[in-house]
Symmetry: C2
Subunit: 352 residues, 2 copies
């Protein structure tokens, strides 16, 4: 994985692009005008590991609310703006750390110039957020969708550059995974700005996590992407969870424990599914990046258990407990969970 080089920028206290870690974003799903509810959700997002949060700004009251919301939280806030450039000016006045403008529904150059001038004055980055669902039908109607998305972003980039503005981030989201991948690939070499990855409207968590993992994962594996947002029809911390799992799977970030567990088969003498679920439930309280292996038999059991910080390789009525690659004891089946948790908790307290 050789990472694409992008120009670094800052969204409030968070650095995006260049050689910094891929940053995790989400979005509040509260009514932005409900300041109390929005601050509460922002705090929950901070607790679950979100690093930048976007907030919708559908009207003037929402834009005004941002001033109070900003004071209530330390997370960087990006105002999500569609249609009306005046809401972007209002959000900047309220002190947001970033803007997202949708070029598909904010095409007037004079209006965009005003937003760019105000953002430049405050050194606030703007994401050019192209979305397949809001691409104007008359924009290059005969080109393939991915190309249309990329070209729309490039056009807006060139325009902002002509205004001597370079605090730019770009996203090109579609529901279709290959379209999303192609759009980002197309633009990656054509401009130097950081890329915000996402598969849009990916749906409910069970399927949306899969779509997002493939779209975002393929791009990250190609070295493309500086910040990600997983779009799920769910409570926002679920988006953050999935985002970290994607990054963890590719070795790009560490966060919390990792459970290696075998799928079980006709060879297992132990109820692996129940044991893995019980271990996983207890692991939710552990924040350190401990790797735990729950394995049902001697085929891959000892190998995987050895490779983990703590592991069990089950056998007929008993299992071997591993700590950092060494067998530290054999326990009977009814003591599997307890023995594993003793090792995990001791590791969690002592440090890895």
């Amino acid at each position: 994985m050789i990472r694409r080089t992008s120009r670094q920028l800052r969204i409030g206290k968070v650095t995006v692009g260049g050689d910094t870690s891929v940053v995790v974003q989400s979005m509040t799903k509260t009514d932005t005008r409900d300041i109390h509810a929005t601050i509460n959700q922002l705090k929950q997002l901070e607790d679950c590991g979100c690093e930048i949060v976007r907030v919708a700004v559908p009207d003037k009251e929402a834009a005004t609310s941002l001033a109070t919301i900003k004071k209530g939280v330390s997370l960087p806030i990006i105002a999500d703006i569609h249609f009306d450039y005046r809401l972007a000016l209002g959000a900047l006045k309220a002190g947001v750390d970033g803007l997202r403008l949708n070029p598909g529904n904010m095409g007037d150059k004079e209006q965009v110039s005003k937003v760019v001038a105000a953002a430049k004055e405050r050194e606030v980055p703007i994401r050019i957020g192209v979305n397949a669902g809001s691409l104007p039908a008359d924009f290059q109607p005969r080109a393939p969708l991915a190309e249309r998305m990329g070209n729309m972003a490039l056009e807006q980039i060139r325009f902002m550059e002509s205004l001597d503005f370079s605090l730019i981030k770009v996203s090109l989201k579609a529901f279709d995974v290959p379209t999303t991948i192609q759009a980002y690939q197309m633009i990656a070499d054509k401009m130097p700005y950081p890329l915000h990855l996402g598969v849009t409207e990916a749906g409910l968590p069970r399927t949306g996590a899969i779509r997002s993992a493939i779209g975002i994962g393929v791009l990250l594996y190609q070295g493309i992407g500086d910040t990600i947002r997983v779009s799920l029809t769910a409570y926002p911390c679920e988006e953050v969870f999935v985002a970290y799992e994607i990054l963890k799977s590719l070795g790009l970030r560490q966060r919390g424990p990792t459970l290696v567990s075998c799928p079980s088969c006709g060879r297992a003498d132990v109820d692996i599914i129940a044991l893995a679920e019980a271990v996983n439930k207890r692991l939710e309280k552990i924040s350190k990046p401990i790797k735990v292996a729950v394995m049902g038999c001697v085929v891959n059991g000892p190998g995987e258990a050895k490779d983990a910080d703590v592991g069990i390789a089950g056998g007929k009525g008993k299992g071997a407990i591993f700590r950092k690659g060494k067998v530290v004891g054999t326990v009977s089946e009814n003591r599997f969970l307890q023995a594993l948790m003793t090792e995990i908790e001791s590791l969690n307290e002592r440090g890895l």
Copy 2:
């Protein structure tokens, strides 16, 4: 996506490799000696769309059971063999459609020759199933893991070829996603046989689906892979569900409905999460590949709803219902679910 060309072979009635669709596999998790339970699970797997099933053969009794199991189902059965070559011979005698041998724990050339001879006589393909967790420690200990896995498979391939056997399939599974990807990439150009993809011991569904989607997805997007198995610590039909979602996301297979739904945000006037969950629950009974969009506002709502077979773009207290790209009515919020389902059911009956 240009697909790697692989040599086609047949596992029972199912063709794998070449230009055929990517095939979905899973594995029974019952005790293979419990013939009744195993046949039951095989039938459930057939119902949920699994196309080939692997069955563990831990001992002689399990091998013998396969004869009765085979008679009870029409799905192709692959016997999963470790350690003992005689179990492979027993499984072949019982009439299995394929074998999986683990070269990491069955290295004796004379024994493997006997299995190959018996498989050749019956024209039964053998998967060389390398697994990171069962790689012998003394096999090329200084090489990187992915290379060791690939080389172990290549060694076994050359040996089987020397016995004039070519009904070969290959897998190279690790828990680590980049290692898995690298191992498959390394071998893809070095031999002509179909590849069975999987990320091994990927864990419980919530995280395992993400790991599997990235590992399998990156490879499929590179045109690598002829059949896939998602390894989850869960009931096997969950593996099949995730496998199809991976293939659907990349446009490689169609199966059942697809729900496009927006993540909701401070702009939504409608409870999108509840509506999407309700629609999804009803869609579980639909088998046709209908695309349904549940969208919360006017930003991407009309665009995505137009692109779906049936869609709703919500607004203040009411929403526009779309059928095949055209608005067919406006309904009040309390009738969203009913109006959508009327359209979906009508499409399901009339055909797409």
